[in-house]
Amino acid sequence: MQTLIVEPNIVRPDDFYEALIDMHRDLTDEQSQMANAALILLLANHIGDLGVLREAIAAARTSVKPT
């Protein structure tokens, strides 16, 4: 069974982060939110494994609302 990878896994983390922020360039808040939603959906499909996705969803929720 796969589990959510939380150890460093992105090959060039700074490049990724820059690209992520860059995605939002010139976007209104609403467009940005829309782009975020699209990005989540695209990445979720790439991951595919429901167990991993549920773990990520839980981790994301805990980060804003600790249980």
């Binding site: 939110q33 829309m34 939603a37 699209a38 959906l41 695209l42 499909n45």
Partner: protein
């Protein structure tokens, strides 16, 4: 003369039971002559169980109700002998299209494969469906329809149920060994015994219009999210017989149902969709809200709840009547065996196991679709719209778009009546699955596999073109059991065999599709229930294993 099914009125006829001193006893009383009560009554009567149907009204369904009847429902009605008329009158369709704003984002085919007798769906007004079922029921000698007969009291007793019935000529009493309560979403019977249907109501209102017009749209299901002609809401279009079209407009939660029904509000909405010059006539308009709910247990002693009385869904996915018809057929054969004392009462508990499982699946599908169509907050709307936008270019997102997961029969995976596989199989026909159809040749004529099975238990033997004397003798012995099993031999494509002397029907798998659909090889043997569900299968026929599986499927083990 053609019958106007919207106007038919059935006469109230005094029954002899009204003059009896003591409540007359009937094996089965069905309460409610909607699609589910009628299906249950016909199935029982044709299996030899006399049935009385009581309905408080004397007309067929009125207004905008069910239109989409699914392939499995048609197969059930085929078994009962009333499917063909429905399909002849109905509009057959397989394709759905989804639009977002002004673009087609994708289209889907619900039955991409050929080699089935029935399409994924037909659209047919509920009054035709009920009218045809009623006409079929009226022709059965052991089925009695009593109109204007309202059940006002039920009381479970050890050996049955006492009923109080009100008629235009006053009340009378009846006694039934079993009652099937098909008295609809508000089920008075459910209330009388202190039960409830519990679940979730959705706030959004929907305007449902049936409109008569000449229009060139193809027979497909068209669904729009946020179209230019009805901003921020959804619209659904379906074609029905007689040039009638069903249009559902989502109105949001704040709409005023009385205002929205007024022609001056409805006509502009329809014109926005069809164009200002469109010629149409409004047949019906209603404003609905929807909910998904179910009773905790569909069996309450000797009262068995089926259809909307037992469970309700929002209509996205057309799982209401379609699931209720499956309830009816699940119950009919079990009740017949229990009444004939060939199976213990415990067999009726499995009605709740199996149809409760199916109801959960239907409620889950309908709830998810309704949530997708009517997002509850900004975030869910954002994900919804992002999904729709992505779906135009990305196949994965199309799988997430949910304009209704259209009714498919549940595969009863965990049913206690199944014998788990001990051999390896692939494909869909696992124990608990409703049997797949396929084209066959029977005695030189082209026909369909499902027309050969059902009503009784069947053993389906995939042969290499021969049938040994041993197997033949085993089939003959199984056919004489207390619960008889009728064997069907499936010969490979290209090989036609005469029916065997013992009466076993031989069919030719004329396009080889049965072998594929059942993942069958020479020697594969399937045990099928009277409701055409697989309950066991093996790579080799074994008479003892078959007997054990039959006992398990009837709680007689």
């Amino acid at each position: 003369m053609t019958t106007d099914y919207q106007k038919v009125e059935f006469p109230y006829v005094r029954s002899q039971d009204q003059d009896a001193r003591e409540p007359v006893d009937h094996p089965v009383v069905v309460v409610g002559a909607g699609p589910i009560g009628l299906t249950a009554a016909i199935d029982l009567a044709q299996q030899g169980v006399p049935v009385v149907v009581l309905d408080d009204d004397n007309k067929l369904s009125s207004g905008s109700r069910a239109i989409c009847f699914a392939k499995r429902t048609l197969e059930i009605w085929d078994r009962l002998g009333c499917g063909e008329r429905m399909v002849q009158k109905g509009v057959s369709w397989n394709v759905g299209k989804v639009y977002f704003r002004d673009e087609l984002v994708y289209s889907f085919n619900l039955l991409p494969e050929s080699g089935y007798r029935r399409p994924a769906f037909i659209n047919l007004q509920q009054y035709y469906c009920e009218g045809y079922l009623c006409e079929h029921a009226q022709a059965l000698a052991n089925l009695e329809l009593r109109w204007k007969s309202k059940v006002v009291g039920v009381e479970g007793q050890g050996d049955g149920v006492a009923l109080r019935v009100e008629t235009p000529e006053g009340p009378y009493r009846l006694h039934a060994d079993y009652v099937i309560a098909c008295d609809g979403a508000r089920s008075p019977i459910r209330g009388m015994i202190g039960q409830e249907s519990i679940g979730r109501s959705f706030r959004d209102r929907f305007l449902i219009a049936d409109v008569k017009m000449q229009a060139g749209f193809p027979p497909e299901r068209w669904f729009w999210f946020d179209p230019p002609f009805h901003r921020n809401q959804s619209v659904l279009l379906h074609r029905q017989p007689d040039d009638v079209w069903r249009i559902d407009f989502q109105l949001g939660a704040d709409a005023d149902p009385e205002e929205e029904k007024k022609p001056e509000r409805v006509i502009p909405r329809i014109q926005a969709l069809l164009g200002r010059d469109a010629q149409f006539e409004i047949e019906w308009v209603s404003v609905y809200t929807f909910s998904c709910s179910r009773m905790d247990k569909f069996r309450q002693g000797r009262i068995l709840f089926a259809g909307d009385a037992a469970h309700c869904v929002s209509p996205f996915g057309a799982r209401g009547a379609n699931s209720g018809v499956q309830d009816a057929e699940n119950l009919a054969w079990k009740l017949k065996l229990v009444l004939a004392r060939k199976a213990p009462d415990a067999l009726l508990d499995t009605y709740d196991d199996e149809r409760g499982y199916a109801a959960n699946e239907n409620i889950q599908c309908s709830t998810r679709a309704t949530d997708f169509i009517t997002p509850k907050n900004n975030v869910s709307r954002m994900f919804r719209d992002a999904t729709l936008k992505l779906s135009k270019d990305h196949a994965f997102a199309r799988r997430l778009v949910n304009s209704g997961r259209l009714s498919l029969p549940a595969t009863l995976h965990d049913s206690p009546l199944n014998t788990p596989d001990c051999d390896t199989f692939s494909g869909e026909m696992a124990p608990g699955a409703p049997a797949a159809d396929g084209p066959v040749m029977v005695r030189g004529d082209a026909g369909w596999f499902l027309a050969q099975i059902g009503g009784d238990f069947n053993g389906v033997y995939f042969s290499d073109g021969t049938l040994s004397g041993d197997i033949h003798r085993s089939f003959a012995s199984l056919s004489r059991g207390a619960i008889p099993l009728t064997a069907i031999v499936v010969a490979p494509k290209g090989i036609s065999l005469p029916d065997s002397p013992g009466g076993t029907t031989v069919v030719e798998d004329s396009e080889g599709l049965l072998r594929q659909r059942y993942d069958a090889r020479a020697g594969t043997f399937y045990l099928m229930r009277p409701d055409q569900h697989v309950c066991a299968r093996w790579r080799r026929f074994d008479v003892d294993a078959t007997r054990a599986a039959l006992a398990r499927a009837t709680c007689t083990g």
